[in-house]
């Protein structure tokens, strides 16, 4: 899948668009996150079989 068409321009405009990670490493993909029942899941399972938009929030307040 090609990169979104506007993203390269955004990197020039917005400093927060850092040079992207090419790929999530297997080590990072193994890090656990918890579902709402407290069950652990490897981070990589969140994009298993389909793409994912991951929104990491500051906190829930």
């Amino acid at each position: 899948m090609a990169e979104g068409p506007g993203v390269p321009a955004l990197r020039r405009t917005f400093p927060c668009y850092m040079t992207p990670m090419d790929r999530i490493s297997s080590e990072v993909a193994r890090l656990p996150v918890l579902d709402l029942d407290g069950n652990p899941h490897p981070l990589g399972s969140l994009w298993d079989g389909r793409a994912a938009v991951l929104v990491f929030v500051r906190h829930f307040g």
Binding site: V53, F56, R58, H59, G61
Partner: protein
């Protein structure tokens, strides 16, 4: 309130995100009870996970610190969020941790990684959706 604003704004685009073959997933750093309350209060129907250790935040390069929470730009972001009707609730998680947005393909490759510089610093929703591929999503107010 920034987190509420960000998640709710993207949640409005969940149908388009699904049409592009992706899922919208929220990850927080508070406890699961905070996440459950957040889901109920905000009416979020997409998956939510938590990482109280913040190991995933660190591994993905997200910033943490006092300056990111108290910067002058945060005041501008606050004005935007207040204008949209969002209000600050009690901090539920690490108040100094900043977040970000990643768009990840099924093979683990990353098409967008946005790391917030200060509280309230979020990528435009149109940019996030467009990073999934397919036709660019028009920004609000732009002609289709």
């Amino acid at each position: 309130m920034f987190c509420r604003e960000q998640v709710v704004q993207l949640h409005h685009h969940k149908d388009e995100i699904h049409r592009r073959g992706a899922e919208l997933i929220t990850v927080g750093n508070g406890g699961t009870h905070f996440a459950r309350a957040f889901r109920e209060d905000m009416g979020i129907t997409t998956p939510i996970f938590v990482d109280p250790s913040r190991a995933t935040y660190r591994a993905l390069g997200m910033r943490r610190g006092l300056l990111g929470t108290l910067s002058a730009k945060t005041l501008l972001h606050a004005a935007r969020a207040l204008k949209r009707g969002f209000r600050q609730g009690r901090t539920q998680g690490d108040a100094f941790q900043l977040g970000g947005v990643l768009v990840i393909r099924p093979d683990g490759s990353v098409s967008l990684r946005y790391l917030s510089s200060e509280a309230g610093d979020h990528p435009p929703e149109a940019d996030v959706v467009s990073a999934l591929g397919g036709p660019p999503m028009a920004a609000p107010g732009a002609p289709a």
